[in-house]
Subunit: 191 residues, 4 copies
């Protein structure tokens, strides 16, 4: 059972750094210090190993999103929290969370649509979260009047790039994080 964990660990790292196609089952088994057939004992195949990892990553990702503080003093604090959270996530598990934003490997079979479903959930989560924030913030006068839907997209875009940009850097870059937060605050919060 310990060995199963090694496999997952090695595979996650390799998939994230090299991509699905460039990672071979032999590489995974060697990196995990395990023989190749064991991989097939624990998983149906390379595809299932990937979707399994991806599924877990998305599950944790979404549950972390859900665990964000509900109560905040200002609406911008909600946006700030989400940016901060992503820097934390990447710091904890860079490879796992990076996989949630890489392109879906074209050759991967995903009969249960693990990827598709998760992406949909994630995208809906963001949309509803940011839409709510913006609408309420504008209404209360905290935010300037911005076109809600389009601005939501800009924010999602920025969030994704945090994952992409930071994934393989070792430590939280506080300056980068604060710059992004400040950039958004100036753009949204009314004087």
């Amino acid at each position: 059972m310990k060995k199963k964990f090694y496999i997952i660990d090695a595979a996650t790292r390799l998939f994230a750094t090299q991509g699905f196609d460039a990672t071979t089952t032999i590489q995974i088994s060697e990196e995990a210090k395990v023989t190749e057939p064991l991989l097939y004992y624990h998983f149906k195949g390379k595809d299932e190993l990937y979707t399994s990892i991806l599924g877990s990553a998305f599950d944790e990702y979404l549950s972390r999103l859900d665990s964000l503080k509900k109560e905040t003093k200002t609406w911008f604090e909600k946006i700030e929290n989400i940016i901060t959270l992503h820097f934390q996530l990447i710091d904890e598990k860079p490879y796992d969370f990076y996989l949630t934003i890489t392109n879906y490997p074209t050759r991967l079979k995903d009969p249960e649509n693990v990827y598709k479903k998760s992406v949909k959930r994630q995208s809906e989560w963001f949309k509803s979260y940011f839409t709510n924030c913006l609408k309420k913030g504008i209404k209360s006068g905290e935010f300037v009047k911005v076109p809600v839907d389009e601005t939501v997209n800009v924010l999602v875009l920025l969030i994704k790039d945090i994952l992409r940009q930071q994934s393989f850097s070792p430590k939280i870059d506080k300056k980068a994080m604060n710059a992004i937060i400040a950039f958004c605050r100036r753009s949204l919060v009314a004087k």
Copy 2:
């Protein structure tokens, strides 16, 4: 000679949509309506075909950046132009320019460092362009006082995501474009 162009065309499309590893030489030749060995007559191999395409894409990309209007009324107009340009680029040649921001395929051999050199040039271009804009704009009072280096990074991040996001959509999404521009303007331009 016409056939060489077909090969480049097909390869660009496939590399951009499927990735380097998932694209096979036989796929390229079929898509280009050409036999496989012809690919090896015009290029040393799959690797050279890729780096050749990537090199051209970067060359055009960088020359388009250089051709941006030097004279502008305001400093923000310079930033606006660069955002607009990227929407145009993607509209013209979505596959070519998408390749400039995808991850470098780990298994690709690039003995002449086409990729590395181009990325360096591109990154230096952006850094110098945005740094100049911000410094001058702040000095003149057009922009609010922001930490220059960190804000440059935020802008670069946003630009790259325009390429990524829009690459496979057919038409320029004016609303999305204007939202990004407006988002940046509010964040930078002093009232």
Copy 3:
């Protein structure tokens, strides 16, 4: 594991009869009644398969040379023994020993210099063996006075051709063997 032996066996035969370049991996696998990839499970590639076979052949060859009787009544008997041994070797394993004298395939990669090292050992062995024989035999008056170094070369030449000539004949040709021995005896032994 039995199948690994079949591969070696088939490869040896084919390399010896057709040469390295003219022998394809598929031919070897068919001859060995094995699938092609198995060849790559047991050996790194065609090159390593060849050098592995060549290495074993040289090892056995040199150990057989070393096992020659040390004690002989006359010095010529030593030369006679070496000629006889070569007829025996070819009779036992015609393909293996033939490989030790064929030209080194120009396209073969031999990073550990299996071939080069073995050829050097072999050539030094012959030189020292024959030089010793001739010098001692001349001193004792058994042999006529011949220029040692040059005559050594003539003898080596003759030995190699025994391997070459006999390799693909099924049985020891006693007449041919005795003719060579007699030819040498008349040329060397004093009346």
Copy 4:
């Protein structure tokens, strides 16, 4: 027409040094400073190019054998002459004459049996030449009594090895040549 000669020249050199299989038509054309299709204008293909070269080489070889002095004082002089001739041949055209003794490439098509016929002629020439020498020499008392047929084989063997051994050395090695002649003289000529 000059270019045809370049092709033959380059091909001969490459075939001799690398072997038939390891030599590609591209290599030949590059070495000859000619384009590949020209090779097919002058010859039916790689096979015909090889057999053509081989045929010429054999023709010249056999005509040189025929041109040996008929009149000699002693019978051994005839044997001496043939050894000397081979050192000369190799000195003049090392690649051409080397090809006459390399193994016949298994994959080569030779519909007119250029190789087979030439080898037969050559072998018959040697047999008749040496048999005549030995018989006459023994009868006249110049040679010791040796078994003719077997000794002929020994001599042929030695001759072939001269070609093989010397082919890629630049200059005639007089010492080696004299050693071989002396070796044979002692073995054959009666005191």
